[in-house]
Structures are given as structure tokens and as C-alpha cells.
Amino acid sequence: MADTLLAVADLTVRYRNGALGVQGVSFEVRKGQIVAILGAAGAGKTTTVRGISGFLRSEGARVIQGDVTFRGKNITNQEPHNVSRLGLFAVPERRKIFANLSVQENLEALGKGMVTGDRRAEVEALIFDLFPVLGEVKKKLAGRLSGGQQQMLAIGRALMVDPKLLIIDEMTLGLHPSLHEPLFEAVQRIASTGSAVLLVDESTGNTLEVAQHCVLLKAGQVWAAGPSSDFIGNELLVAGYVGE
């Protein structure tokens, strides 16, 4: 389809120890869409994200089968900076920030794709509006922030590049509930500008509410997939999630 941004076909990722993190996962993300990946702990959500974003080698993993296509280009097993250059930005699991850089520097430690000029002022305003605390601690070393503040910073970094596809793994991890709603709203706003968002999040309800499409993983495979509306209050979801 013309507006397909990301196509994942038969993705199989193997870790160094031989374990298959995911097996034969397929789905698509279209422009303007929010797609959610759901699944229990260890179901393979993070592995899927890694398989797409190229964040594999440092984890000792490889895509051994299947294709990941982004904006028409095959990015399977590509280096992260090449993937990023195409406009894909991933916020990895576990608050990945540069602990020994200040908050401000973290927001600038980005490659060519970083917003400039007026747009930058706009984006920064947006970030500090979403997360006012970050504005107060611009000079602080990121490693000294609280857990939630680090997560805010990680998301803030993603906004600094205006990505075509934004992937956020465990978006609300450690964030106070009062921040959830504005954050989901922000995600919707991003999608509405024609970008797309691939979302992994523990707060299933909110996620399903904002997402158009949903992929439910179980034990490394797609257990169910379809429009989010199908999932809300669905038995299948409960089964896939909790495991009978």
C-alpha cells in the first residue's frame, strides 16, 4: 500500500544463546497510524522493537529470517544510524539516556535529523510543556535525575528529531499517572501530523484507546492482531495476556 511506512514480515530474531526472541512476526504501520504491541512479560515486545530499530548487535541478537521494510527500503539488520537517518527513532526500554551528559546536552546529542531553527524552539517548548521538570534541571547531569525524569528525557530526545516513525518501548514506565494522559495525547498529535507511532506500553487500556491497530504477542509469536476496537474488552486479550 502506498501509505505503508513500516512493513515487518516474518520477523525472527535469535539471541546469541540460540533463543528465538520472536518468531515469524508480521505487521504493518501506516502513515498517521498508532500501532500498539501488547503481550505479557517476556512475550517478545522489546525484541520486536529491537529487530526493527537495529538495536541488536549490542544485545548479541540477529534477525535471522524475515524482512523489515521502512519507507520502501529494506532495513533488516541495518546499523542503527542508517535506520535513524531514514527517519525512524526508537526510545529503547529502560530509560536509555546519556547519564554523564546534562539534560540539555542529552537533547542535543543527536545526528543530522535534529530539528533546527524555529522548529527547534517549538519542539523544545513542547517538551518543556509536557515535562515542566526537565526545563528546571537543564544543567543537571541526566544520571542524577529520578527514574521518571529519565524516562521523560528519553521521550524528549525522540521529539527533537521529528521522526517519521516513532517507536517507544514502555512509554509510561515509571511515569506518574498524571503524565499518562498528556503523553498519550502528544502521541496522538504526532500521529496526526502524518508520522506514525509504534507503541509498547504496560497501560493496556490507554494504549488501546489511542491505537488504531494492535498486535498481541505471546511467547514470541503473534497471538492476535487487528483493529484496536476488536481488543477492547476482548476475551482473547485476557487469554493471550495472562495465559489461560
Partner: protein
Amino acid sequence: MSASEAPILEIADLTVTFGGVKAVTGVSSKIKPQELVAVVGPNGAGKSTLLNAISGLVRRQTVGDIRFAGQPLQELSPHRRAVAGIGRSFQNPPLVDRMSVVENVMAGAFGIRDYRVVDQLVRWRKVARSERARELQARTSLDFFGLGGIADTPTSEIAYAQRKLVDIARALMAEPKLLLLDEPTSGLGRSEHAAMADVLRRLMEPGTMTILMVEHHMDLVRDAATRVIGLQAGEVIADGATHDVLDSAEFQASLVGTKR
């Protein structure tokens, strides 16, 4: 006041300062045995810092008085506090990646001196016996968390949520009297919150444990906690029975995070 009414943890005017900025400001509170207290509050409110102060990780930056079972902690190093019966888990689980899961859990039992360094060199029988018992205990504990299947997996290879649980299982190995949990459910799905609540209840059952838990998920707090302390900008702004605090309108916005 009966003995059991005496607070197990007594915090008086606790202040933690990082380079001039106060992360915790004049916090005072008494926690009684067998309470399950939830600490809630916005990001950066000082919740983790409070736990760090109790377990002794930010000793130099701390002023104020903390007493555990009547004993002042301020002079005690973190490992002595652990020996005294304070166990904890972490917001970002610090496990030894190059050990198997079960060994990570067993590492939590260090404080139980069933044998000493010297025994290790000479009393092999005794050590072997203790080790077997310890391993069994760890496996049982992993089973309890539904992690029995990954007990022998290298820890570098497990998913994030599993790490969080392993961290808690490790904290339990020392059979602490006071258990500090930092966001036990972050990274767990909503349906797993209920399971966590169940775990917490079962931990409380024998009537020997007191839990102080930092948590953002109000469903779990509601479900499990007997009391809630609300922190904001380092100060206690609410302290009371769970429902009283969670339902009071004035704390809804700032603490609970529901509609503004």
C-alpha cells in the same frame, strides 16, 4: 502501648540534600509492624531517595533520624541495616548479568550467616548442605513468582519484567522484617498488577513482614496498601488510610494523577 504497636520504622525530620537541592524535606513518619505502606507522588518527589535514605545509600547527604525497631540507623552502614532486617528492591533492577537467575536470587541470602568464610574453606559438608537448602529456597521463591522456568537462564537473557521480579525475589531471600519496594510493577502489564497484589498479600500473611512500597499504579495501591504516604517535592502532603488519601479530592490531582 503494646509491643506490637511500637513502630518498626520511625523517621523523624529527615532531609536529603543533593548539591544544595533538597530531594526530601523534613519527612517524619512512623510505620508500624505489618503495615503495607505505599509511597505515592509525582516523578522526582523524592520517593526513591526516601528508600535510599532508609537503606543507607545516601548516608552522607542525609540529616535527621531514622530508627528501625528502636535502633538508630544513622551510624549504621548499608550492610548492617540489611543484616538488621531491611531488604529492598530497586526501580531499575541491578542484577548480576553473568550469573544465572537462581544464583542472583541466592545472592540475596548473604545476610543469613548459615556458614562463614572460614567454614567455606574447611567445613565442606556443612557448606554443601546449606547450599542445597539455599538453592531449593531460591527455586521455590522463583516458582512463587512464576519464574521457575527461567531459574537456570543467564540473567542477561531475561526480559525486563522478569528482572523486576527476580530483584524482588532476591530481596525476599534474606527474610527481611522491613521490605522496601521501588515500583514493583513498573514494566508489568495491568493484569499482572492483580497478581502482584496477591503476591504482596501472601507476603504479609504470616504476619512478620512490613512493606514500604513506592508505586505509581493506583489500582495496586488500592488493592494492597493499608496506608498511603503522599510525597510532593520532598514533603509529606498526605498520610493516612489508603482510601482516605486516595479518595480525598485535594490529593487526587497531585498524588493520584487522575483527572485534573
